[in-house]
């Protein structure tokens, strides 16, 4: 699984990091970044849930 981040769309609402802190965090400037290098199978459900709650559609899951 890969996460596509549309950084220009990110406004830093942080719902992804709140939902899936093991996958997403906000950087020092308040934009999303991944906490891990790779979405391992045990992280897939969290990664999907975190992408799902992005209110501005900045995150997409690709299999």
């Amino acid at each position: 699984m890969k996460i596509d981040i549309k950084l220009p769309a990110c406004e830093g609402h942080g719902l992804c990091a709140q939902t899936a802190p093991g996958v997403y965090e906000l950087d020092d400037e308040g934009y999303v970044r991944l906490v891990v290098d790779e979405i391992t199978p045990d992280l897939e459900a969290a990664a999907e849930a975190g992408a799902r709650v992005c209110p501005v559609a900045a995150l997409a899951v690709r299999r």
Partner: protein, 399 residues
């Protein structure tokens, strides 16, 4: 009707009639069960009521444009032309960027303390009174002054903001009697806002000044500036006002929810998300289909107006079990009360901050909260809310 052709599912229900506005959910449930998209014979639009359809449509700005206006009528949409609400990318993104640094949570972090202090003093005044109106004394005061201060507006004229925003919102729908009755408030508000695109009126460092900067360096026209100020002011009023009003009512009706918040103020955030899902202060906005689009067995033809019904989507039982019940454990972060996608509410971070700081102030200062009279629902056809929620509170003894 021929047996070989599939008729377009249609309804003659009037979603904006006073009795439906007062309690829209039985009608919305029937529409949701009837078909994924149902044509309104009275108003000539298709309404989407199922969560997945509403969300997908909001996310698909290429097939469902905002550029023809997100209200129903031609007259109203003319007023929105070129505003952040009624443009598509890339034009839209440039307009949204004018304030995104300030509206994004990273920008808001710097003002959290100021908003929290204001919440604390406003709640203290109400606690001292003991009996007050949750709408008149809190819901219609707090967001207006928060946004007024952030924009840098003078105190004089702020009394026009809530009535004006309420009237403006009602105009997104058909011109029912409510809209016509509130035209004076709308005109008053617009005239006042027209005078605010003027640096001498605005406090330095506020959002109003940031918008004027964008005019000076050519990112916005003067008319664009007025429409941008207007869009943000209007959007920041009636929505938050009514979400807060709904919270006041909730606490009086549901002591279990109130006691849970009092014991753990961190529940403020999930409580706010759940009331947004349940109440959906803005019931919906329109788009125009740029091509034929299929929703299950229904084809919505190119050029059709389509109502994305946030309130219906947020009570879709396929998405949220027992949708009519407030569930403190639900934390429905993917609700569509703020819309979704490129046009998702730009002020949602501020709305969350306002609600959370206010609920924290409630939890810190109030022990018990109950109704002191019968709440009165608002009649606005587009914004669900309250005219009055009379409350009686007792102070926390340890506060």
């Amino acid at each position: 009707m021929s047996e070989t052709t599939t008729a377009t599912p249609s309804t003659d229900a009037d979603l904006f009639a006073p009795e439906v506005v007062a309690d829209p959910f039985p009608t919305l449930t029937a529409l949701r069960e009837q078909a994924p998209a149902v044509y309104s014979t009275k108003y000539d639009f298709y309404v989407l009521t199922r969560y997945e359809d509403v969300r997908a449509t909001a996310g698909d700005w290429e097939s469902f444009t905002s550029s023809k206006g997100v209200g129903l009528t031609e007259q109203f949409n003319k007023q929105l032309v070129g505003s952040v609400l009624a443009t598509d990318p890339p034009e839209h993104d440039a307009l949204r960027e004018v304030l995104s640094d300030k509206l994004a949570p990273r920008g808001l972090a710097q003002i959290r303390q100021q908003i929290s202090d204001y919440a604390t003093s406003l709640v203290a005044e109400c606690v001292a009174k003991g009996t007050f109106d949750g709408v008149v004394d809190i819901a219609r005061v707090f967001p207006i002054n928060v946004v007024g201060d952030l924009v840098g507006l003078p105190m004089e004229g702020r009394e026009k903001m809530h009535p004006g925003a309420d009237a403006t919102f009602s105009g997104f729908g058909p011109f029912v009697p409510y809209v016509m009755e509130h035209l004076p408030q709308l005109q008053d508000y617009q005239a006042w806002m027209g005078t605010m695109a003027d640096r001498s009126k605005l406090t330095p460092g506020g959002w109003g000044e940031a918008i004027m900067d964008a005019v000076d360096d050519g990112r916005l026209t003067q008319l664009g500036a007025i429409r941008t100020v207007s869009a943000y002011l209007t959007a920041g009023m009636d929505t938050t006002v009514n979400a807060i009003a709904a919270l006041m009512r909730l606490f009086a009706d549901r002591p279990d929810v109130w006691n849970a918040l009092k014991a753990d103020p961190k529940l403020a955030a999930p409580i706010f998300e759940e009331i947004l899902r349940l109440e959906s202060p803005v019931v919906g906005f329109w788009r125009v289909a740029t091509k034929d689009v299929e929703f299950g067995e229904v084809t919505v033809p190119e050029g059709s107006k389509v109502l994305l019904h946030w309130a219906a989507a947020n009570r879709d039982p396929q998405k949220y079990p027992n949708p009519d019940t407030f569930d403190i454990g639900r934390n429905p972060l993917d609700h569509v009360a703020f819309g979704y996608g490129v046009h998702a509410c730009a002020g949602q971070g501020l709305a969350r901050m306002e609600a959370v700081t206010l609920l924290e102030a409630f939890a810190a200062q109030i022990d018990t909260i109950e109704l002191a009279g019968e709440p009165i629902r608002g009649r606005n056809p587009i914004v669900r809310g309250y005219e009055s929620v009379p409350l009686r509170v007792t102070p926390r003894r340890d506060a």
